[in-house]
Structure formats: structure tokens, C-alpha cells
Symmetry: C2
Subunit: 156 residues, 2 copies
């Protein structure tokens, strides 16, 4: 959930990056940027960012979710979730209902359109992952995933 459309930027080889390439933090950052740029790519490009995709998946998996819980699950601020849901609601992918037991909360759920889009997105994301890991063996993929989880274990 950040800007970045589809510009094809490559690193400038002529420039000295100093100590950066040896920093795991730096490479993690670069990989994430590249990931974001690649996400929307591919034949059937749908107007969704990795963050929005995550939001839709979580809403599908947790019908009538509260916005605050969504915020916690996605690591977004509550106020950001307001904007995000505004966006998705305007596009008819999601709807806010009154929660049953709590008059403060909204119960968020996918609309039929939202569900249909999510189906397409899942296929697209699957392609994206394939592309991402095209150089990886199955074992490497597992190792990579395990190491990523190890970075900040307290956060999951």
C-alpha cells in the first residue's frame, strides 16, 4: 500500500553504493521495492496494490470484521483503514454494515463484485509469486520464508 506504478528503474552501475549492498536491511528494502513494482505487472493488470490485496484476503477470511481488527491484522493505522475502506467501498468491492453487538463498530464484508475480483487477484498473485521465485528451488523457497519469519519473530 504505497504508490509506485510501473516504471522500469534499474540500479545505476556507475554509482558507488558504499556499504549498503552488504546490509541485510538495505537488500530487504530493495527487494520490497522491486516486489511492489512487479506486483501489478503481468498480462491482466488489475488496479490493486499488495496492501489492498492483503486487505481483501483478510476481509474474505473474516466476515464482518471490525475496522480496528483489520488495522491490527494489516499493520495499518486505524485512520488509514478508514481511507482504504472508503476506497474499496466507492469501488463497490466492500461494504460497511452496522455491527450487531457494538454500535461503535462497522462490520466489513466483501460484496459479490469484491469476491469476484479477489478470485482474479488470487490467480494474478500466484503468477506474481512464481515470477518472484523463478530462480528459486523449492528448498530455497522454504529457507527464504523461514528466514523472513525469523527477522522479527515477535511481530507474528
Amino acid at each position: 500500500m504505497t504508490p509506485a506504478k510501473t516504471s522500469d528503474k534499474k540500479a545505476q552501475p556507475g554509482t558507488d553504493l558504499g556499504l549498503l549492498p552488504g546490509l541485510v536491511g538495505y537488500q530487504l528494502r530493495l527487494a520490497q521495492i522491486a516486489l511492489f513494482r512487479d506486483f501489478a505487472r503481468g498480462p491482466g493488470e488489475l488496479e490493486v496494490t499488495p496492501g489492498l490485496f492483503g486487505v481483501l484476503v483478510i476481509i474474505e477470511a473474516n466476515p464482518d470484521l471490525k475496522q480496528s481488527d483489520l488495522a491490527r491484522a494489516t499493520q495499518l493505522d486505524r485512520s488509514t483503514v478508514v481511507t482504504v475502506i472508503d476506497n474499496l467501498e466507492r469501488r463497490g468491492l466492500v461494504e460497511r454494515r452496522a455491527a450487531l453487538n457494538d454500535r461503535r463498530s462497522n462490520a466489513i464484508r466483501l460484496t459479490a463484485d469484491g469476491l469476484a475480483l479477489l478470485r482474479k487477484l488470487k490467480r494474478q498473485v500466484s503468477q506474481h509469486e512464481k515470477r518472484l521465485l523463478s530462480n528459486f528451488s523449492a528448498a530455497e523457497r522454504e529457507t527464504f520464508l523461514a528466514l523472513l519469519l525469523k527477522v522479527f519473530p515477535e511481530h507474528r
Copy 2:
């Protein structure tokens, strides 16, 4: 180079994350977010983001760098570099000089203050890396770095 100060958000265990946790792209994203949040942490907190740190390192390693080259090296847009340099210049860490051979370009270099700050930052970043990899053996660190580089090899 993104917002995010120091809020202590943890994942909500009660919420089903669906297929997300199995996606390398998702875990990469999460790790990057956690990385960002941790970056400024620590005893001597200096007001710099990972992105700004990278900018300073590159400027130090390439005296009289042009803004456009900086943009390519940092994967930022040229217009974003304008803002970033404005910021650093206002803080007296960096200066724009007229380039010698090209009247369009600026030659960016660190000021004495910038260099001094960068020294401190390097120590801080080193601590950050240690924290980041506190659960990693040396071999795991190497493996992790190698796998990160493998994600989008065409970009380096």
C-alpha cells in the same frame, strides 16, 4: 523513506490471515515494515529513515553526484530527490553546487555536519543490523543475503 515513526503494533492473533502467511511477497513486505519501525529505535535515536541513510551513504561515496544519478542509485524518482535534497540541505547536511561540465546539473556533496552525522548513523545502523539478525547464525545471514539478491537479480 516512508512515514512510520515508532508505534508498537503487533499482529492480531484472533484474525485469520488466509493465504497471506504462505506468500513470500507478503512476508517480505511484513519484514520490511518491521524493519522500518525498528530502524529509528535504540538509545541514540537520530531523525533519519532507512532511505535517507542510504542517500547520505551514496552521496559520501560519490562526491559531486548529480541528482539524477542519485535518483537512479536510490530507486527514487527525480522529483522525489528534489524534495529529499531540499530536506537535507535545510538541515545543513548536504549542499548543492553548480556542476562543472553541465549547467543543468547540481553537484551534491556532504557538509562537515553531514559527514559527522553520517558517522553516528553508521554506528547506529550497525546496531540495527545486529538487532535485526540477532537470531541468525553467520551462515544464515549469508544465505539470507544471497536469497534476497536472487529475488530480482536484474535490478542490481
